[in-house]
Symmetry: C2
Subunit: 253 residues, 2 copies
Amino acid sequence: MNIFLIGSGNIATQLGSIFKKKGHKIVFVYSPTLSHAARLGKKLKCKYGNDSKSIVNHPADIYLIAVKDDAIKAVVNKMPALKDQLVVHVSGATDIDVLKKKFKNCGALWQVQTIILLKNTKPIPVPVVIEASNKEAEKKLKQLATAISSKVYSLDSKQRRVLHLGAVFVNNFPNHLYTIAQSLLQKHKLPYEIFHPLILTTAQNGILNPALAQTGPAKRNDKVTMNAHKKLLRKGNQLAIYKALSKSITELY
Amino acid sequence: MNIFLIGSGNIATQLGSIFKKKGHKIVFVYSPTLSHAARLGKKLKCKYGNDSKSIVNHPADIYLIAVKDDAIKAVVNKMPALKDQLVVHVSGATDIDVLKKKFKNCGALWQVQTIILLKNTKPIPVPVVIEASNKEAEKKLKQLATAISSKVYSLDSKQRRVLHLGAVFVNNFPNHLYTIAQSLLQKHKLPYEIFHPLILTTAQNGILNPALAQTGPAKRNDKVTMNAHKKLLRKGNQLAIYKALSKSITELY
């Protein structure tokens, strides 16, 4: 399939590279910033530009909108209405309604994965969630999705939003808790490496059965330990997080 | 070394088994509940009982107090004062002061790991933190610790408490967030397995550089997405957790 790529950031780069590798053709990379469009266009060995009219001049089967969530609307506004082509965004948090007004065949393709893969991080097969405006579009989108994952789930916008919220709870929030722990240890000149095994085991347990794996002072409602912990935390955000999570754990068990 | 084991729960079982395997001798298992003492005593093929006088009758080099944090004091009260033997607790949250009054040679040996290893969970080498009341005791304790880990850290009670608090942030709290995500998905009939790769990658990124790995609506201060998320959450604890963590992330970046 011929793919017109809109966007030049992490996800656009990643998806463009995979689709090209899997035999699809990237016909054009569009970005409002010419240098960004050029960087990705050269990488994918295709045409590129920052003129939104290029969308009309470079016909494609699929228009892939791989931009930040809050930029999707602006991109849609710049695009001509399309009847035959498939227009797809890659956002977990955005309904496909934003596309439906202008494009007969549209959908979403969301990878349930963090866009950041730090060096040395082992890549793990990534589930992909899709949604399409009609059966024909879904068939095409599924074909595209199977190029990047063996685990493709068809969900509606509401389900995808729930999943996106869940992803905040299993990615954004644990990652911030790691950040707090790291800064706490740094402050007391303790090596963060001491937590590496614990972080990995916690994730492995959490995949299997988090409710069964819960331990700690909040679960035991051990007020002596929790009070000692609170004294060690800076007032403000860290303390508020400690209290909110401990309260929730204590009340659940 | 001859070890007298006080306690019969997860940690007592795990440590008793490892020390026996590594060539130390478990001379006795004491637990206030006879059936518990019997179960572990039979497993370790040693004497057992629920009479606290057995501590006097079964001399050992090391008395290992492997009971719940809030039961340590009661155990110490039951024990005779000891001059030559080493008395060790295995708590991350408890100062060794609780032992110093009664025992000349005392210390703590804390494994930086969750005590729960669910089936199929790969065991990962576990760092061990020790603290001792004097050099002689430290030498003995280090010898014991190296039997179970190649990573032994000598820290004081304050440092161990900071580490224990950190462990709450990298284990107890992320695990609770997984639990919330799982219940959220169950409620909307979505499969939790969809998050397995994300959970693992998040942990791998979090080990390397959590600050660099942070993404999500709170980091972007994307209020539209955060408001949509809040609507999906039950009022109460889940919402309080979402708000506290999002606020902390937004303010950090």
